[in-house]
């Protein structure tokens, strides 16, 4: 499924991670580079963060490199997005590539300590990366440890992750200070998604020109994508940046039945109509024009036979439950929004409930310490447009036949996230 264009997933096996020797046979050794050279290469390559925000890696590297004192690199592989599997696949199949990226990032910013965060619920992933850390005896002056973290949704927030690593609760903190100013152990900290680091490992080897040989100007290189829902072969693929949603779905064997919408990016992403949106490219600029984002590289094909309204109400209820409940607008607004959606789904909505949803959406956006409420609002507002007809139908007629179908969009229980 990875095809000949695979870079991060080149040479991987399905039954076990690549050993260090196998990794070297595929990618060659990582040369020792000077920090400024690595940062410049990341900038010229145009590596964008793959954790969800799509932030330019160069700027994060530079911000930490410019600070004094001891510094820390945190590789975020917690992958709290329920429909995403790409970070786990990457960690479990090519752990040494991620570790090369950690080493390159540490060289770039001048860090001597690195923490690789993995989902506490995925022991195989943890074992793969721990074994890989041990297998490489020579870490120079870099100390690397692996930290299992419960994959609750806010683990995607840098400040929540740092708070947790410092022994506090997995909850965001007020900024500033931002992580590059004061992070783990109050030290300047670089937090990057594990896929982003793996791209850096390859740019450090082959250079920015090579990186840009695939993808498009505004989304150079390749990206990992998790396909889910009504596709013949769900799973993780690697595609050039700027690949259309339709082409990505075809790499998963195409839709397994008629689809009428797609959830793109993840649960902080957007709900787009299909087939009219399938020509859109996995590119921040292009998706941004449509209120969507590449996000964590998730594409879920929603079949016409499923009920988008029931799925939406379930996911938004789950997201409301994933709030850290620290900020009033999020702690109160998300349950209010979820409640209204659930009443629409069962045909018990008050008059004007969709206008009320939009009003509440405006009321919670940009009012949290983190981006959690903003992500929910993006999914909600896009879904209100895409599912408009279905929402009206439920308001008038109550639940449809498809409401009772088993959910496609996963909403893990608290127990499943605690493990």
């Amino acid at each position: 499924m990875t095809g000949s264009r695979a870079r991060l997933l080149a040479g991987i096996r399905s039954d076990r991670p690549l050993s260090f020797d196998e990794h070297l046979a595929v990618h060659g050794p990582l040369a020792a580079l000077e920090g400024p050279a690595i940062i410049e290469a990341a900038g010229r390559a145009g590596i964008l963060g793959r954790g969800g925000a799509g932030f330019p890696m160069e700027r994060k590297l530079r911000a930490v490199a410019e600070r004094g004192g001891r510094k820390v690199v945190v590789a975020n592989g917690v992958e709290a997005e329920p429909m995403s599997a790409k970070d786990r696949v990457l960690l479990a199949s090519a752990p040494h590539l991620v570790l090369d990226g950690v080493a390159a990032a540490a060289m770039a910013v001048g860090a001597r300590e690195a923490i690789v965060c993995v989902p506490a619920t995925a022991p195989a992933v943890r074992t793969a990366i721990e074994d890989a850390v041990r297998e490489r005896r020579d870490w120079g002056r870099l100390r690397v440890r692996v930290a299992p973290v419960p994959p609750r949704y806010v683990a995607g927030e840098e400040t929540a992750l740092i708070h947790h690593l410092d022994g506090g609760p997995l909850k965001p903190t007020f900024t500033p200070p931002r992580p590059y100013e004061r992070g783990v152990g109050r030290r300047p900290t670089l937090v990057q998604n594990v896929e982003t680091l793996a791209h850096l490992a390859l740019v450090a080897r082959h250079g920015p020109r090579w990186f840009r040989q695939t993808g498009r100007q505004t989304s150079p290189g390749t990206m990992l994508v998790t396909l889910g829902g009504a596709v013949h072969t769900p799973g993780v693929i690697e595609v050039p940046g700027g690949t259309t949603l339709a082409d990505a779905l075809m790499l998963g064997g195409g839709p397994s039945e008629e689809i009428d919408s797609v959830v793109v990016g993840g649960y902080f992403g957007a709900w787009l109509p299909a087939p009219s949106s399938l020509g859109l490219a996995l590119d921040e600029r292009e998706l941004g024009h449509h209120g969507a984002a590449v996000g964590a590289g998730v594409i879920v094909a929603m079949p016409a036979s499923s009920c988008g309204v029931a799925e939406l109400a379930r996911v938004v209820s789950w997201l409301a439950g994933q709030s850290a409940r620290q900020c009033g607008p999020c702690a109160n607004g998300l349950p209010a929004i979820a409640g209204a959606l659930n009443r629409i789904a069962v045909g018990r909505a008050e008059r004007g409930s969709r206008a009320q949803l939009l009003r509440w959406a405006g009321m919670v956006r940009n009012r949290g310490a983190c981006r959690h409420p903003d992500g929910v609002v993006r999914l909600l507002t896009s879904a209100l447009r895409t599912l408009d007809e279905d929402l009206r139908d439920h308001e008038l007629n109550g639940p449809c036949d498809a409401c009772a179908r088993p959910p496609l969009l996963a909403t893990p229980t608290p127990e499943a996230l605690a493990a």
Binding site: P172, T173, F174, Q326, C327, G328, P329, C330, N332, G333, A336, W360, M363, R367, G368, A369
Partner: protein
């Protein structure tokens, strides 16, 4: 020197004192938490803004000096 208002949303518990003391800049949402549409504080409102910040029981209302550009 201009000033800007900002809320620490984690510290804020929705007492609503700020909206009483500075209605020119602060409204409350459906749950009693402050909404600041325009954070800029003109000089004539500065004393009121200072009082509102000082009156917040959780010190969640921040009156910050805007950086000169």
């Amino acid at each position: 020197m201009s000033h800007r208002l900002r809320v620490n949303p984690i510290a804020c518990t929705g007492h609503g004192m700020c909206a009483e003391l500075l209605p020119e800049r602060i409204a409350l949402d459906d749950w009693g938490y402050p909404i600041i549409d325009d954070p800029e504080v003109p000089d004539e409102l500065l004393d009121h803004a200072r009082r509102a910040a000082a009156a917040c029981p959780t010190l969640a209302l921040l009156l910050e000096r805007a950086e000169r550009s």
